[in-house]
Amino acid sequence: MATFRRILHPTDFSRASAPALRRAVALAKACRAQIVLLHVMTPPSPFIGEGAPPSSYADLLILARRSAKRRLAAALARARRERVRVQAIFAEGLPADEILRAARRARADLIVMGTHGRTGVSRVFLGSVAERVVRESRCPVLTVRARGR
């Protein structure tokens, strides 16, 4: 039987991804698998600063990219301290598209991702990103609710 070798963990650095990361680390240790940490940056909308000169949008993009990469590097360092093999991938675009693409490219055996499991009425909604990944991923997807379990 084939083994789980690569576990993809998409992160938005939010609290909602933290339980999923813990789960991914535990599974990676148990399966002696590698974690592929993915952050997808959605480029800031050029319409936010309407009327602003194009150069300031380019500056904004550079700043956003730099900040996202720095946070990804910090997340990578934290995961390494857990003594698991981990690599990081940075992508830009629509999160669901990039997660599915990265899973294919990395030949992930499992995707472990958090869902924004808020309480109350919105508890019944699965995050839209997680929902698309669950529907379209070729490999199994482990969804971990942010709270309540």
């Binding site: 039987m1 083994t3 240790k29 699965l126 529907r135």
Partner: protein
């Protein structure tokens, strides 16, 4: 924790099945995970007793006969599926419930103290690839533990 190092905090996987191709794929993935984690598998099937006797030519007795046949078939199939895991050296058992599938699955996960549910996204109720199976969808949202979804092959 030392135990977690080996099992990844997962000692019991609950695998709902409606015996569809999607469920078969989920069962295969669950066996793969259980083998690697040294976890136990609990296969669960939910019998749905549609009210056959409410209309038409069915008498209560005939309806009972239909349900009994369905139950006997499910018991046999559950035994066969469980045997595929046992043959690979994985500890596995099955549970048969009657009721509304998603409710029984969520309930079984709590009762069995499952650490993970492994479920196919499309069972026999699945119509459209664009839609997430309604059972899987509800299980993801309501389960007491994390859920691994397995899509059927295209």
């Amino acid at each position: 924790m030392a135990a977690d190092e080996v099992t990844g905090g997962v000692t019991r996987l609950l695998v709902p099945t409606d015996f569809s191709a999607g469920a078969e794929r989920a069962w295969a993935e669950a066996r793969r995970l259980a083998a690697q984690l040294g976890a136990e598998l609990v296969l669960v099937h939910v019998l749905v007793e549609t009210p056959l006797y409410s209309e038409g030519p069915f008498t209560m007795k005939q309806a009972r006969g239909v349900f009994d046949a369905a139950r006997a078939w499910a018991v046999k199939a559950l035994g066969e599926w469980t045997a595929t895991a046992a043959a690979a050296g994985i500890s596995a058992r099955w549970v048969l419930r009657t009721g509304v599938p998603y409710k029984e699955i969520v309930g079984a996960a709590a009762r069995e103290r499952a650490d993970l549910i492994v479920i196919g996204t499309h069972g026999r109720g699945g119509l459209d690839r664009a839609l997430l199976g309604s059972v899987a969808d509800r299980v993801i949202r309501l389960a007491p533990c994390p859920v691994v979804t397995v899509r059927d092959t295209e």
